[in-house]
Amino acid sequence: MPTTPTLHKGDLMSQLRNDLPSLASHAAVELDDVILGRVKSLAAVEQLASVMSEFLTSADKADQLTASVDPRTMVIVSRAINDSGLAGSSPLTKVKDLQQEADVISKKLRSLTEPDALKKLDHDALEKMRAFCLKLSKFAMVSYRAGEEYRHRHPFRR
C-alpha cells in the first residue's frame, strides 16, 4: 500500500495521532446533545466526518488504497466500528472493508450537519454513532498514550 508524503496527508496524520481521542470525544458530546434535543454545534462531528472519509482513500486504480495513517490507527478505527455494532456484516478484517465502512460512517456523520437533518433522526442510529465516537476516543487514548510518548526515557536513566 503506497503512502504519499504530502503536506496535507502529513497534517491529517499528525491530527489523527494527536487529536483523535479529543476530536472523537467532542463529537460524542455533540451527538449526546443532539439526542437530548439541545444541539449547540456540530463542528466536531463535521471534522470527524472529514477525517473518516480521508484517512483511507482510493488511488487512481480502484484496487489500490492510499493510507494517510499508520496501521495502529487503522486497527483503532476498525475496533471501534466492530465494538459499536456499526459494521455492516461480519467483523472487519480487510483494509478495503474498513475503507467502505469508514466511508459509510463519514456520510452518516456528514448527513447530520445538513439543514433539516435533525428533524428526521433515527434515535437508535444516533446512539450507535455516539457509541462509535466514544469507543474511538477510548481506544485512541489508550493506544497512543500521548503523555508517555512525548518523553522518551533513556534506558539507563535513574
Partner: protein
Amino acid sequence: MSTTLTHAISRLRSFLEELTHVADSEFPYNDSKEALNLLQVHFQNRLARLQGLDSKSNPDVVRQEAALALQALFVYLPLLGFVLRSTNIRNSFEVFGPLLRLSQDFLDVPGAPHTPTRLLLSSEWDYSPLSYPEIPELPGFVLIGLPASESSNPLF
C-alpha cells in the same frame, strides 16, 4: 452534577489559575508568552466543554471527557514547568538568537503556509538526551532544554 465532572472541572480551574500565575512572570522572549497563551486557550476550551455537560449527559461521555482532561494535565503540567523555567536567569540567553535562527533554517519552508518556528529555551535536570516530537497544542515550537546542573560551567 456527578462527582467525576465536578472534580474534572475543579482540576482544570486550578490548572488555569496556575497558568495565569505563571503568565505574570517576566519573560525575556515573547515565544514563551505565546506558548502560555496557546495553552490557556486550549484549557479554557476544554473547561467550556466540561461545563456544557450536566446530569442529563450520558455518563460514558462525561467519564471520557473527564479522563481526557486529566490526561491533558499529565501531558501539559511538565511543559508548563518547562515554560516557567525559560524565565530563569540561569538560562544562557545569549544562545537564544542563534538557536532560533538555526531552528528556523532547518524547519521553516520558504513560501509554504506553515506556522513560523518559535523557540522555548529552558533548563532541564536530565543528562540524557530527550525529545518532544510533537506537541499538538504548541505547533511550530522547538523546545530546547539545557542541563541546569551545568549552568555554572562557562565552557558549556
